[in-house]
C-alpha cells in the first residue's frame, strides 16, 4: 500500500484565498493565513462560522472552489503528499470505525501501513490509551463507549500516528475539565516531543488560551483576527470581544446554576 511517511520534523500550512460556498452562500470567503512549522494554531469562532469546513479543506478532504491550501509549499491535493507527511485529524464526531474494537481503531494506521510487528503495535496502542485515561476498554466497540470516551479513543488514534501535522476539531467537547486539561497537555507534548504542527478548532476558551501560539477568529467565513492570545484579549473589535465575553458569561451562568 502506502510507504511509511518520511521523517520530516515539522510542516507549514498555508491557506491562500480559500473560498467555498454551499447553495450560493459563502461559507469560506477568502481565507488567508499561514501556520508556521511546529506552531499550535487555534481557530475560534461562533457556531456555523465555517471552522470545521475550513479544517476539512486544510487536510484535503474538501477542495476549495477558489484558492489553495499548501502543506510545506505543496498543494494539499498533490498526489503522494500524504506519503510524505504523517497527518492526523481528530473529528468532532470521533469517526471511529464501528466495525473495529478500540485497540484495532487506535492501531489502524500502524497496522495498515505495516510500520511495525503486531506485538509492538499492541504495546504502543496500550500506551496511547493510557495517555488518554482509558484502561481496560481495548476490546470494546465504539458503540459501547460514551461520547467522551470515543473522543479520547480518537485522540489516542491520532497520537499513535506521531503526526507531523495534526488537526483537532473540538478535541475537548464532551470531556470533563480534568480530561480537557490532559488533552491540552498532549497537544503541547506533540509540539515539544514531535515538533508537530497543530491546528485546533475549539470553543473551549481555556484550551485555546492555554495551548495556542496564535489564535485566529473566524466569523461568517472570514478571518477577523490572527494573533497571539494576548493580542486577542486586547483587540478592541466588538465582535471579538463579544465572543470572548459571551464565553465568560456562559461560564458565570453555569457556575450560578450549580450554586443554586
Amino acid at each position: 500500500m502506502n510507504e511509511p511517511a518520511r521523517q520530516i520534523q515539522n510542516v507549514s500550512v498555508e491557506a491562500r484565498g480559500v473560498r467555498r460556498s454551499y447553495h450560493g452562500q459563502a461559507v469560506l470567503d477568502g481565507i488567508d493565513f499561514k501556520v508556521e512549522p511546529g506552531e499550535i494554531f487555534v481557530i475560534m469562532g461562533p457556531s456555523g462560522s465555517g471552522k470545521t469546513v475550513l479544517l476539512k479543506h486544510l487536510i484535503g478532504l474538501l477542495k476549495p472552489e477558489a484558492g489553495e491550501i499548501l502543506i510545506q509549499g505543496e498543494s494539499v491535493n498533490t498526489p503522494g503528499l500524504r506519503d510524505k507527511y504523517r497527518m492526523a485529524m481528530v473529528f468532532q464526531s470521533s469517526a471511529l470505525l464501528a466495525s473495529m474494537n478500540v485497540s484495532e481503531n487506535v492501531g489502524i494506521y500502524l497496522t495498515e501501513h505495516k510500520l511495525m510487528p503486531p506485538r509492538e503495535i499492541s504495546k504502543i496502542v496500550t500506551e496511547a490509551l493510557k495517555t488518554v485515561g482509558l484502561v481496560g476498554v481495548s476490546d470494546r466497540f465504539p458503540s459501547e463507549l460514551s461520547g467522551g470516551m470515543q473522543k479520547r479513543v480518537a485522540i489516542a488514534r491520532a497520537l499513535v500516528i506521531q503526526p507531523q501535522l495534526v488537526l483537532l476539531d473540538e478535541p475537548t467537547a464532551e470531556l470533563d475539565p480534568l480530561m480537557a486539561v490532559a488533552i491540552g497537555e498532549e497537544i503541547l507534548k506533540l509540539k515539544s516531543n514531535l515538533h508537530a504542527t497543530s491546528i485546533v478548532v475549539t470553543h473551549d476558551r481555556d484550551l485555546a488560551f492555554g495551548v495556542a501560539d496564535r489564535i485566529a477568529m473566524l466569523v461568517n467565513g472570514k478571518i477577523l483576527f490572527v494573533g497571539t492570545p494576548d493580542e486577542l484579549r486586547k483587540n478592541p473589535d466588538p465582535k471579538i470581544q463579544n465572543f470572548i465575553f459571551a464565553e465568560l458569561l456562559i461560564r458565570r451562568y453555569q457556575t450560578h446554576e450549580r450554586i443554586t
Binding site: 500500500m1 500524504r82 485529524m89 473529528f91 464501528a98 494506521y109 488537526l167
Partner: protein, 248 residues
C-alpha cells in the same frame, strides 16, 4: 446517470489496479467471502430448487402433450445453467449482499469513517472496495455453480412427481446429459462473474457517494439494488449475444 457510470468505471479501474495488493488484504476478502457465501447459501438452495421445479411445472405438461417429454431434461438443464441460475442468483445476491455493501459503506461515509481513513492515508478503494469486489467475484460464480445441480434436482423431482408430466429421474437426467455440455455451465459461470463485478461496483460506488443521514443511506441502498438488477438484465442480453457469437 452518465456521471455515475463514469465514476463507477473509474472506481473499477482503480480497484483492478489495486489487485496486486489483494494478498495483503486476504483476511478481509475471506471475511467478506464467508459473509456472502454463508448468508446466501440457504436462500440460493431454496431459490434454485423452486426455479427448477417451476420451469418443469410450466413446460412439462405442454411438452408431454406434444409427445416431447424426452426433451424436458435437456431443456431444463440448458435454461437453468445458461440463464436462470446466473440471472436469478445474481438478483438474489444484489438484494442480499449489494444492499448490505451499500448500507455499510454509506454509513461509513455519513459518519465520517471514510474521511478518517483518508486522513490516515488509507485508500478506501484498497481498504474497502477491493476486498468486497474480490469476494463477490469469487462467491457469486461459486453459488451459481452450486445452484445449478440443485435446480436440476428441483426440476427432476417435479417432473417425476407431477401426474401431468411423469418423467422419471433416469430419462430426465439421461436427456440432460445428452444436451448439456461443460461449456454451457461455463457460460453461466462467466455471466455470473460479470454480474458479480457489476453488483459489487454499483453497490460500493453507491455507498461511497452517500450523502445526508439515515435517509441518505436508505436511498443509497434502494438505488444500489434497483440499479444492480437493471444492469444485470441489460448485461444479460449483451452477454448472451456475445457468448452465442463466441460459441458458434
Amino acid at each position: 446517470m452518465f456521471r455515475n457510470i463514469g465514476e463507477i468505471m473509474i472506481m473499477f479501474v482503480q480497484t483492478v489496479r489495486a489487485l496486486p495488493l489483494a494478498w495483503r488484504h486476504r483476511r478481509k476478502v475471506a471475511v467478506q467471502f464467508f459473509e456472502i457465501g454463508n448468508s446466501s447459501l440457504l436462500m440460493v438452495c431454496i431459490l434454485a430448487l423452486f426455479i427448477g421445479g417451476v420451469v418443469a411445472l410450466q413446460t412439462g405438461p405442454v411438452l408431454v402433450e406434444r409427445g416431447l417429454s424426452y426433451v424436458l431434461g435437456g431443456m431444463i438443464g440448458l435454461s437453468v445453467c445458461k440463464e436462470l441460475a446466473p440471472v436469478m442468483m445474481s438478483i438474489l445476491i444484489a438484494g442480499r449482499v449489494g444492499s448490505a455493501m451499500s448500507a455499510e459503506l454509506g454509513s461509513m461515509r455519513v459518519y465520517q469513517e471514510i474521511d478518517a481513513l483518508e486522513t490516515m492515508n488509507i485508500n478506501p478503494i484498497t481498504y474497502l472496495v477491493l476486498p468486497r469486489l474480490l469476494a463477490i467475484a469469487i462467491a457469486l460464480p461459486m453459488l451459481v455453480l452450486f445452484s445449478i445441480p440443485v435446480a436440476w434436482m428441483g426440476g427432476a423431482v417435479v417432473a417425476m412427481a407431477n401426474h401431468a408430466i411423469s418423467v422419471d429421474f433416469g430419462s430426465f437426467f439421461s436427456d440432460l446429459r445428452d444436451v448439456v455440455e461443460t461449456k454451457d455451465i461455463w457460460n453461466g459461470i462467466i455471466k455470473s462473474f460479470v454480474f458479480a463485478l457489476a453488483i459489487g461496483s454499483i453497490s460500493c460506488h453507491q455507498g461511497l457517494i452517500t450523502l445526508g443521514g439515515p435517509r441518505g443511506i436508505g436511498r443509497s441502498v434502494t438505488k444500489a439494488v434497483v440499479n444492480s438488477i437493471v444492469v444485470i438484465l441489460v448485461l444479460d442480453y449483451f452477454l448472451t449475444r456475445f457468448l452465442l457469437m463466441v460459441q458458434q
